[in-house]
């Protein structure tokens, strides 16, 4: 326990009120950047999971009632190992997909709609797509097998570069945060050179004096850090809420990438204030010891 009255009240002077305010801002920014990186990672993983297990077979519009190409294509698909299911998407569902563009006034009969088959793969299976494609063309001329690979590749490239950018931003903010917390701590201590010398001349050992200031720095940075975390959490929850609200407009409508922060992501965010506290503490220690080293 710290004896009463010994705690150096640095924090009452303007210079060190700076430390909690700055820590708050830095933890807030670092929290947002970290959340962006983690959210992006999840979104990418979700897309991967959602798309790698599916194929779409597209058949030209039926030429007449006797058109057997859909049945032939389905037979080929059902016979292929590694395919879990192959479901034709009925006209109503296809209409729903194009409704936003064409409106509801058109009757499906008026349209020559391509027929779609939604194919789901066993998560572990790696079917030979080239062979499948060849068989499908034979069974149902004009069919197209879309494995989303092209789209997924460019999407993955985009997402990866976005993630790298976010990581770079996070690293930058982290670096700036560490530097500014360190700087604010040093500024706060500069005012107290006299007290440091005073304690030194009273016969206090270096480690003892450093501890007095470390504790204060830790306390101030934690206060600021927790406030910054609360701000960041509020902002992130609001963003998640906004994402959820956007989803109400329809299952396919996502204006924002979902954040989907999981337990351990929040745990990483919660780690930010203690990290800021440790930075402030270490800086206080080094600054005080450097000041003391200049004294005989």
């Amino acid at each position: 326990m710290n004896p009463p009255g010994l705690a150096i009240p640095f924090g009452r002077d303007g210079g060190s009120r700076f430390l909690p305010a700055l820590t708050m801002l830095m933890v807030f920014l670092a929290g947002l950047a970290l959340a962006a990186v983690m959210g992006l990672e999840h979104t990418l993983a979700d897309w991967n999971r959602g798309l790698t297990g599916t194929l779409t077979v597209e058949l030209p519009a039926a030429t007449g009632a006797g058109d057997k190409s859909l049945a032939a294509a389905l037979a080929v698909l059902h016979a292929t190992p590694g395919i879990k299911s192959a479901t034709p998407i009925d006209r109503a569902a296809t209409m729903k997909l194009i409704e936003p563009w064409l409106g509801t006034s058109l009757s499906p009969a008026d349209l020559e709609l391509p027929r779609l088959i939604d194919v789901r793969l066993d998560p572990t299976a790696r079917p030979d797509l080239a062979a499948l494609r060849a068989k499908l063309t034979q069974a149902a001329p004009g069919s197209v097998l879309d494995d989303h690979q092209l789209w997924l590749d460019s999407l993955a490239r985009f997402a990866r570069s976005a993630e790298l950018t976010a990581l770079a931003v996070l690293a930058l903010i982290g670096g700036v945060a560490v530097l500014s917390v360190a700087f604010a701590t040093r500024t706060g201590l500069a005012v107290h050179r006299d007290i440091i010398e005073l304690l030194h001349l009273m016969g206090a050992r270096d480690g003892y004096i450093a501890r007095q200031f470390e504790r204060q720095a830790l306390r101030l940075a934690l206060i600021g850090g927790v406030a910054g975390l609360a701000l960041a959490a509020t902002a992130l929850l609001a963003l998640e809420h906004a994402t959820g609200a956007a989803a109400l407009f329809g299952p396919g409508v996502t204006l924002l990438p979902a954040l989907h922060l999981r337990g351990w992501n929040w745990a990483m965010l919660v780690a930010l204030p203690p990290i800021a506290g440790l930075v402030a503490m270490a800086t206080a220690r080094l600054t005080v010891l450097a000041t003391l080293r200049r004294l005989p």
């Binding site: 009255g5 010994l6 009240p9 001349l201 206090a204 050992r205 005989p296």
Partner: protein
């Protein structure tokens, strides 16, 4: 107790502010240090109180040659020295009580033990009713007395006081001098810097006179005044 031989001192790379200082303060002695402003009184006291290192010459304290003492070993020596700073150096956010208790707390004295001690010392300097007052709310003379109380609360073997009567009227100055006499009778070695040559001479104690960084002999000091 304190021995200087041909000591010189400079701040950083500046000129020597003290030159060829040779002096001896025996255990139980009481010295005054006089001299015009800028003569080097504070600098000399800072050397004695281990706040500065000499740039040349030999300083020995409590029988130990300081060039042979490690930095870590200086801390226990410092606890035997009480310092009254010219500018007090009270901590403004702490009460008079906590300011005076500071050296005891630094030395790890238990709270229960130090309470009576601190009260007694503050009573001794006539501030029994100001225990909870913060320094900025005290007059210059009251702050001065808190500073003196803090310097003596550890019962130091050596008391170094820089202008301890600079901010008080003559009556208070006389009273503080009696406090110092009392301490000296209890065995404390004292060196007190002052502008007030009259006060120093009245005391009948040895007067060291600094002029431009050099120590004049007592005789020369008398001739000069």
């Amino acid at each position: 107790m304190v021995r200087f031989e041909n000591v010189g001192m400079r701040y950083g790379t500046g000129p020597e502010v003290l030159r060829d200082i040779t002096l001896r303060l025996d255990a139980g002695s009481f010295h005054f240090l006089t001299g015009p402003s800028g003569a080097g009184k504070t600098s000399l006291l800072r050397l004695i109180s281990l706040a500065e290192r000499p740039s040349r010459g030999l300083v020995s304290l409590f029988g130990e040659d300081l060039t042979r003492v490690t930095r870590a070993a200086l801390a226990p020596l410092r606890r035997k020295i009480g310092i009254v700073f010219q500018d007090f150096r009270l901590i403004p956010h702490l009460s008079a009580f906590d300011n005076v208790a500071l050296p005891l707390r630094v030395a790890g004295v238990a709270e229960a033990k130090l309470r009576d001690n601190v009260r007694e010392i503050l009573e001794w300097v006539g501030l029994a009713d100001k225990l909870e007052a913060r320094p900025p709310t005290l007059s210059g003379g009251q702050q001065q007395r808190v500073a003196i109380a803090r310097a003596v609360v550890m019962r130091p073997k050596l008391l170094v006081a820089d202008e301890p009567t600079g901010n008080v009227d003559d009556a208070m100055a006389q009273r503080l001098m009696r406090l110092f006499e009392e301490l000296n009778k209890l065995g404390t070695t004292l060196i007190v810097a002052t502008h007030n040559a009259v006060l120093a001479r009245q005391s009948g104690r040895t007067v060291l006179h600094l002029e431009n960084g050099e120590l004049a002999t007592a005789a020369a000091a008398r001739a000069a005044s």
